[in-house]
């Protein structure tokens, strides 16, 4: 196994996502908001890290940083849209921003960037049991596509 393949295997979030799913199901998704926010955020980043490693080692794609390994979220989102995962990535992307950057709940997320350049502009978001369940389902759908990619 090449070092690139080994690295991709190391970053495969399958077990992590399964653990989170089993944990949340065992609690019937009845978790406090701190935990829900951390789960949504970690789901997104586990997939983003996996995707970035696949792009770097399998496609030799390069980006910013000294090692050219710092990819932008929009590249990740764009790739998932190309895989017809519009709903799943939009949901996870928006709720990840709400979970990490916004104090209020519910709140209105305004994506970063110039007003006319943002992904969906302003979104009403509420972090709760329902959004946690949708986040896990979305993460599984994205993971399935990433695992199928050669």
């Amino acid at each position: 196994m090449s070092s690139g393949s080994k690295r991709i295997t190391q970053m495969d979030p399958s077990r992590f996502i399964l653990c989170l799913k089993e944990f949340t199901e065992s609690k019937h998704y009845d978790l406090d908001e701190v935990l829900i926010r951390r789960i949504i955020s970690s789901l997104y980043f586990s997939l983003f890290n996996f995707w970035a490693n696949k792009k770097y080692f399998l496609e030799n794609r390069r980006s910013r940083g000294p090692n050219q390994d710092c990819f932008s979220f929009i590249e990740f989102v764009k790739d998932m849209i190309a895989e017809d995962l519009d709903a799943e990535i939009k949901f996870l992307h928006t709720y990840r921003i709400a979970s990490d950057h916004y104090a209020l709940n519910p709140t209105v997320v305004k994506h970063e960037g110039r007003a006319e350049d943002v992904f969906g502009r302003r979104e009403d978001v509420e972090i709760n049991k329902r959004s946690l369940k949708k986040a896990i389902n979305s993460a599984e759908a994205i993971l399935n596509v990433l695992l199928k990619e050669k």
Partner: protein, 157 residues
């Protein structure tokens, strides 16, 4: 509801046909517009307004920068046909708006977002699969990869 028709007046029932809805005989080559002057963007809007009332309400009101962004990703005619198709097939999703999303690192347009006010989570996922499946069947893989469909109700609830 506005029926899809091509310029010969025939009804079209798939994207492979409806992509020609906006085809203008006076400009037979659908070349990619990379630089659009204000006059040209006005002409595009006028062309759209005379051909499809529905799409005019979406594209016809866009500012020059957004039209430029759209033109860098796809042809206005392909996007118009796609919008006409979706609006006619899924009227329950409401009237869409368009947004061009840029890559902050390169400042290049990354993809076009078609945003509908309605459509719950399951409907949203189904519409994406159906529309993009049709696009791929019609040989428009490139367009499918560059367009994101969003249903705000599905995102919210």
């Amino acid at each position: 509801m506005y029926p899809l028709t091509n310029f010969t007046g025939q009804s079209t029932d798939s994207l492979s046909q409806s992509r020609y809805v906006m085809y203008n005989p006076s400009t037979p080559s659908q070349t990619r517009l990379t630089v659009i002057t204000t006059g040209e963007s006005v002409k595009i809007r006028e062309k759209i307004s005379t051909n499809t009332v529905n799409v005019h309400g979406v594209i016809g009101t866009l500012d020059k920068k957004t039209i430029e962004g759209v033109a860098l990703l796809t042809t206005i005619s392909e996007l118009s046909s796609l919008l006409t198709r979706i609006i006619n097939k899924y009227p329950e999703l409401g009237h869409p708006t368009l947004n061009v999303v840029y890559n902050p690192d390169t400042s290049e347009p990354a993809f076009i977002e078609i945003i509908f006010p309605d459509g719950d989570w399951e409907k949203w996922r189904r519409v994406v699969k159906e529309v993009k499946g049709e696009l791929r069947k019609a040989g428009l893989e490139d367009l499918a990869a560059k367009v994101a469909i969003t249903c705000l109700r599905g995102l919210r609830e």
